[in-house]
C-alpha cells in the first residue's frame, strides 16, 4: 500500500511567506512582463474547473484599454462535493489576497473583490480582520489595492462568472451572452480578471518557487498540483493536495473503501466514471478535468438516486432564463422517474440522452451545458439501475 501512495504536495497550505507577505513585496518590485512570462512558462490553468490559461486571461485584461479595471476572486464555491475554497480562505487568506494584488498590479486594476457565498458567511469576521492587516501591509509597500468582500445570497449559478457580475451589480444572477468576455467587459462593463480562490494562491507559489519548479509537478497538459475535495464512500474524506495527471485507479486504491463502484469527478456538473474505466482515466485537463470535487460511491449506492439528486439540484439552481436549461432539467428528472416507475419504456432513456445533448449545444451557460456530463455518463454506464 505504501508504495502506491500518491504524492502529497504542500503548496497551497504550506507555510511559505503566508505570514510576512515577502513574496508579495518582492513581486510588486518586478516588471509586469516578467511576471506574465513566469505565469505563461508555469502553464498554470484556472483551478475553478474550466482550466483557462491564467497568464492569457491576465494578458488580455492587461491589454484591454480602460482606466478602470477590476480583480475578482470567485469564492462562490457551490459545486456539490467541493469544499476546498472554504478551507483555503480560512487557512491561508493572505496568499489569496497577495495573488489578487499581484493580478491588480499586472493588469492595472484599482480594486479587488471577493465574492463569498452566503453559506460561508461565518468566515466573514476573520476574513475582514485579515483584510485590515493586509491593507496595512500593502500600504507600507507603497501599493494601493483595496479588497472588498461581497456576499452572495444562495445561488449556485452565481459561480458562473458573468452571473456573478450581475449579482454584484444588484441584478438577478443570470449569465450574460459571451462574447464579450470578462477580460474586456466584466464587472460594471469594465475589463475584469476573475479567478478561482485556488488560482490566486497558485500564482503566489509560482512567484515564490519559480515556474520551473512548479512545472516539475503534474503533466504536460496539467501543470502543478490541485487541491481535491474527497467525499462520499471513503474512510478518509477531506482535503488533499495532489499532483495533477494521476490515474483514477490509483486514486481509488488510496481513497476508496475497497468496494468503489463509481467516482463522480468534478461534481454534479462533472463526469461519473464507473469501475471498469478507472484504469484508463486520467484526472487532469487531458483526461477528466475537475474543480476539485471527487465523490466516491460504493456498491451499496443506487446510481439512480445519485442522478435523481443531481437533477433535483440542477432543476432548483437553473436560473430559468433560457428554455433548454429551465425545461430540460425538469424533463430529465421527470423522465428518469417515469422510466423507473415503468410509465415509460426503457427506450425513453435514449430520448432523454438526446435531450441532454441538445442542452449541451443550446443552453446559454455552463450550467445547462454541463448537465449532460453527469446525465449521460451515469445513464450510459448504469443503465440497468435506471430501469430496474
Amino acid at each position: 500500500m505504501s508504495e502506491s501512495k500518491l504524492k502529497r504536495v504542500d503548496l497551497i497550505f504550506g507555510e511559505y511567506s503566508n505570514t510576512k507577505y515577502k513574496v508579495l513585496a518582492d513581486t510588486l518590485k518586478r516588471r509586469n512582463e516578467d511576471i506574465l512570462e513566469d505565469l505563461m512558462e508555469s502553464g498554470l490553468k484556472g483551478r475553478g474547473g474550466a482550466g483557462f490559461p491564467t497568464a492569457m486571461k491576465w494578458k488580455l485584461a492587461a491589454d484591454a484599454p480602460s482606466d478602470t479595471k477590476y480583480v475578482i476572486c470567485n469564492a462562490d464555491e457551490g459545486e456539490p462535493g467541493t469544499f476546498k475554497d472554504r478551507e483555503i480562505l480560512s487557512r491561508v487568506p493572505r496568499k489569496v489576497f497577495s495573488g489578487m494584488a499581484i493580478c491588480g498590479k499586472v493588469i492595472g486594476a484599482q480594486k479587488g473583490y471577493i465574492y463569498l457565498r452566503s453559506e460561508y458567511k461565518f468566515l466573514l469576521p476573520e476574513l475582514t480582520r485579515e483584510l485590515e492587516m493586509f491593507h496595512e501591509h500593502i500600504g507600507k509597500m507603497g501599493f494601493d489595492f483595496p479588497i472588498e468582500i461581497k456576499l452572495g445570497s444562495g445561488a449556485y449559478i452565481c459561480g458562473e462568472e458573468s452571473a456573478l457580475f450581475e449579482s454584484m451589480e444588484g441584478f438577478r444572477g443570470e449569465p450574460r451572452n459571451k462574447p464579450p468576455y470578462p477580460t474586456t467587459h466584466g464587472f460594471m462593463g469594465k475589463p475584469t480578471v476573475i479567478n478561482n480562490v485556488e488560482t490566486f494562491v497558485n500564482v503566489v507559489m509560482i512567484m515564490r518557487l519559480g515556474p520551473v519548479q512548479f512545472k516539475l509537478l503534474g503533466t504536460t497538459d496539467s501543470r502543478g498540483s490541485k487541491v481535491f475535495s474527497v467525499s462520499g464512500d471513503t474512510p478518509i474524506p477531506g482535503i488533499y493536495e495532489l499532483e495533477l495527471g494521476m490515474p483514477l485507479d490509483r486514486f481509488v486504491e488510496e481513497f476508496g473503501d475497497g468496494d468503489t463502484k463509481a467516482v463522480q469527478v468534478g461534481g454534479a456538473s462533472g463526469f461519473c466514471v464507473p469501475r471498469k474505466k478507472f484504469k484508463d482515466t486520467i484526472i487532469g485537463f487531458e483526461g477528466v478535468p475537475t474543480g476539485g470535487s471527487m465523490m466516491l460511491f460504493n456498491s451499496s449506492r443506487s446510481m439512480y438516486n445519485v442522478l435523481h439528486n443531481y437533477l433535483d439540484f440542477f432543476e432548483e439552481e437553473s436560473c430559468g432564463q433560457c428554455t433548454p436549461c429551465r425545461v430540460g432539467c425538469q424533463q430529465l428528472r421527470k423522465g428518469i422517474v417515469a422510466v423507473k416507475k415503468g410509465d415509460k419504456k426503457a427506450g425513453y432513456l435514449d430520448q432523454l440522452l438526446k435531450l441532454s445533448e441538445s442542452m449541451k449545444i443550446t443552453a446559454k451557460c455552463g450550467l445547462g451545458q454541463s448537465v449532460a456530463n453527469s446525465f449521460s455518463s451515469i445513464v450510459n454506464n448504469f443503465k440497468e439501475e435506471m430501469i430496474y
Binding site: 472554504r86 452572495g152 444562495g154 467525499s231 474524506p237 465523490m295 439528486n309
Partner: protein
C-alpha cells in the same frame, strides 16, 4: 427600529446605486429574516427603481426570503453526500422536535426548517446551518442536543 429606519440606515451605508441593492436586501434579512412587500416598495423608492425590479432581484436568491421566517432558520443540506450519510434522519429528528415539516415555521416564530443545496461540508456530512453558523458531522443524537440548546435560548 422600524423598517423604514432600517432601510434608510442601510441606504446611508451602501448608497443609492443599483450595486447597493443586494447588500441592502441582505441587511433587511439580517435584521428581520425576511423582506416584506412594503420593504421592497420602500427600497424601490429609495433607490429610484421600480418595485418589480427589487422583487425580481430579491426572489432570485434562496437566502433572501420574501416570506416570514423564524428567528432561527435551520437549513439542512440535501445534496448527495449529506443525503447518503443520513440527512433524512437528521430532518426527521428536527421535525419531531419542533413539530413542523420542512418548509414550515413554528407557531411561536422561533424556528424555520428548510432544506438547502450543497453547503460545502461534504467531507463532514450531514451538515446544516442555523442562521449563518454551520454544524457538521450530525447524528440524530447530536442534532437533538443542538436543537435543545436553541430551544432553551430566549
Amino acid at each position: 427600529m422600524t423598517n423604514e429606519h432600517l432601510i434608510r440606515d442601510l441606504v446611508k451605508k451602501h448608497g443609492r446605486s443599483r450595486v447597493a441593492l443586494l447588500p441592502i436586501l441582505q441587511g433587511v434579512v439580517d435584521a428581520n429574516n425576511f423582506i416584506s412587500d412594503s420593504d421592497m416598495v420602500e427600497i424601490a423608492k429609495e433607490l429610484d427603481l421600480s418595485a418589480a425590479q427589487v422583487f425580481g432581484t430579491a426572489t432570485f436568491y434562496s437566502f433572501l426570503s420574501t416570506e416570514p421566517l423564524g428567528k432561527y432558520v435551520i437549513r439542512v443540506c440535501k445534496t448527495i453526500t449529506c443525503d447518503m450519510h443520513g440527512k433524512k434522519q437528521i430532518v426527521q429528528t428536527i421535525e419531531e422536535m419542533l413539530k413542523v415539516k420542512v418548509g414550515e415555521t413554528t407557531p411561536n416564530k422561533k424556528f424555520s426548517l428548510l432544506e438547502t443545496n450543497c453547503l460545502g461540508w461534504c467531507h463532514e456530512g450531514p451538515a446544516m446551518l442555523i442562521n449563518e453558523k454551520p454544524f457538521t458531522g450530525l447524528t440524530p443524537e447530536r442534532v437533538h442536543d443542538i436543537i435543545s440548546e436553541y430551544i432553551s435560548k430566549s
